[in-house]
Amino acid sequence: MSLHLILFLTFGAVCVAGAVNLLAQRHPINSALSLIAVMGALAGEYLLLGAEFVAAIQLIVYAGAIMVLFVFTIMLLNAGEEERTKGSRVAILLGVPGMLIGGTLVAWVLLRHSGTGSAPVGALLGDPKTIGQLLFHEFLLPFEVTSILILIAIMGAVVLATKPEATENRKAR
């Protein structure tokens, strides 16, 4: 077994364990923490694929900013344990075997074709310079469009999260 494969399996195991734990935990803060673990392990997988810039951005943006926002909201709303609603028996009886069959089929189809997915060690596919050139030349229009999207999202978040009373007070003034 090569070092690459061992590392892939380690990070992959953390990913799957975190994802399953997200489903199993009842308290949202535990789910959030397992999602952070998934994101950290995914950053490791990106490093294996030679995409080190994406790995760093994954840590900064996903694990360091978006998930902080989630944790912040959970803390702010003081979210408690969720109430379980009992699913129907048919869903369990049909769903679990169906999921297993579907999963096996997908796995079989995927594993039949084997191309290599990982970059050779030391080969830098995604160094910041090349990505920057690609981003600001070929993908300039999508880049500008996403910046407008972000701007609209900021304004939307501000409008939604301000208390109604605060706006009325300002109008009255």
């Binding site: 949202p28 999602l35 989630f70 699913g87 796995a107 039949r112 939307g156």
Partner: protein, 100 residues
Amino acid sequence: MVPLSYYLLLSSILFACGVAGFLIKRNIITIFMSIELMLNGVNLSFVAFAAHWHRLSGQVFVFFVMVVAAAEAAVGLAIIISVYRTRETLNVDQVNLLKL
């Protein structure tokens, strides 16, 4: 060297977990997190394909997905906060009325 199919398999497992979480979870914040999990699974397949075809476009797409995820998280959490303000619950089963 790790075959591409392993990465795709991992990516599909993550995506499936995200879908399952979206369906079975009842807390609106956890449902949101399941969506993030799905996006992460898709990102992994993008990066794996980028390494497979030696094209960087896949990695650039991951940035766009992240930007969209950030915008979605900002607006989504703001909506959750305003829903909580009026309903005082985070359970999606109790947020099914159009009028209070």
